[in-house]
Assembly symmetry: C2
Homo-oligomer: 319 residues x 2
């Protein structure tokens, strides 16, 4: 399956696993890379020395390419990058911050750099900063999210029309239909987060996985819009923030209500009511906890069926 | 281009033009039907006798199938239906209300019925009510919108997995890429609103069209979440409501701020600051005001290119 993305990362399939905090540790990352995709360690929930250990453990499990996601809002983002460079990581995805800060530094060390963007404006900025590819992520995605709430369906073609680097679509993709749709929109690859968070190899707490499997398509909530939107499972914590915003609470009050360590409490420790269970709307599509290899196989074999159906419909145009 | 939707409506292409208020009058509807799609009169902004006149004028312009959209929140929805039946309209799309109210009545008169849904739950209800097809409309769509803010990319496959009637995808579709993506997701057809509102034949005021052409992907806003979300161009009116909600105003206060006749003021009379300029996020993709025939031709010819690209990528899987 040759696309600009498989060439760029030297992988088999243009399928990237989002580097989710508390989820994307070495078992998940290695499983995705072994299955022909690109696994990304989620360094956002790791101390620098933990990241070093995770990189080494991933290497013990796979010789295939993998990368690290580094959220630039982390105060010690630079320290995480140094560790990644010391450990000879060749692929870095940056998110949640200014791509101008580190892209040329990473590139000068031979790293392939991707940056996650929620809008055309930030896609342009990322391209100007010199990234190799942009991840265009729609508002249906789990976790931190853009202020303008642009959906993947609207975002991807507009980003593809604007930048000349390859585009990876993210947000709302959970099966072969979503992958084919993203490709039709002009993407060269996809990043899937929630689908991989809900696999056997994911490091998320079993309680988190349980809620994800149960969830219907309307069971996530976008909240904290006044300070930086987050999409998560609609539990007591998320609803409380959402209601407080619409009750007129200030950004400072919202920040206080969100507090610290909520994602750890939810995703890592399994508190399904008071934790921040970050997940995307596509959780509704995931009905079973499978191993990564099976998920990847289903997607790849499903792509054949989806394309065949599309061709059957489209060929009739000519008649 | 044979799909369940072309068969159902006896049209050439599975492309439906949304029955938008103040936009979808006989020139637009006839142009879409003449071009091989399905035009829908937007009765939501018409008195019953106006609807009768619009139906007759549409028939003067085309002998091809067209339909009427009837929003069920209209107090006189039943009167609009009677007019449609008296004028022998064979296709009715209902929206914004309970499909159980009129579906069997319409079906007993031989009408083909579609109902617009924002979630899997309502898709099930519509199917149970006996509709012939559901329109699965995502939160990126313009105008009245679901409370759960589910995006088209997440909604369409989950609706397709749940109902056995054909699915029409709506929200965020503006070109061949969007049509192909919708088909990949499992839709049998598409409904496009904003793309057709921004054509020469659309009845919208030139000022509305000007704002739509100028708009970038982040220039719409979903507001009135406390009383029933509306997506429109982000002007003074929309921003004021949005800010009032986050300042803690009650549903009653929001209802007061929205007031009456705002869509007429914006879309029909062209007040771009104080009117409700309902449009979807995909407005960002529309850069030029073209005649409907050209828009349709571009989509149909574009589908060939999109499918060819997809096949090129997908065929590599087998290698």
């Amino acid at each position: 399956m040759k696309t600009k993305i498989t060439d760029l990362f030297e992988i088999e399939y243009p399928i990237v696993q989002g580097g989710m905090i508390w989820v994307a540790s070495h078992p998940l990352v290695a499983a995705v890379s072994e299955a022909g995709g690109l696994g990304l360690l989620g360094s956002g929930s790791m101390y620098p020395e933990q990241l070093r250990e995770e990189i080494r453990k991933t290497r013990e499990l796979t010789r295939k390419p993998f990368g690290v996601n580094i959220p630039l809002l982390r105060a010690d983002a630079e320290k995480l990058m140094e560790v990644a460079l010391e450990e000879k990581v060749r692929i870095v995805f940056t998110s949640a911050g200014n791509p101008g800060r580190f892209t040329s530094f990473l590139k000068s060390h031979g790293v392939t750099v991707a940056h996650v963007v929620p809008s055309v404006k930030f896609a342009k900025k990322a391209e100007a900063a010199g990234v190799d590819t942009v991840v265009a992520e729609g508002t249906e995605a789990g976790g931190h999210n853009g202020f303008e709430e642009i959906t993947t369906l609207c975002l991807v073609p507009q980003v593809a029309d604007t930048v000349s680097v390859p585009v990876i679509a993210a947000g709302g993709i959970g099966d072969a239909r979503g992958v084919a749709a993203a490709m039709a929109l002009g993407a060269d690859g996809v990043q899937m987060g929630t689908r991989f968070a809900l696999t056997r190899e994911s490091a998320a707490h079993p309680n988190y996985k349980g809620k994800g499997i149960e969830a219907g398509e309307g069971d996530t909530l976008l909240f904290a819009r006044k300070i930086g939107p987050i999409r998560a499972y609609k539990n007591a914590f998320a609803l409380r923030i959402w209601q407080a915003e619409f009750a007129g609470k200030s950004p400072e009050e919202i920040r206080g209500l969100v507090g610290e360590r909520r994602a750890k409490l939810g995703i890592h420790e399994g508190d399904t009511e008071e934790g921040d269970l970050e997940m995307g709307q596509i959780a509704g599509l995931v009905k079973e906890l499978k191993p990564v290899g099976e998920v990847m196989e289903e997607i790849i074999s499903g792509l054949g069926r989806v394309t065949a159906r599309l061709n059957r419909v489209m060929n009739e145009i000519k008649n």
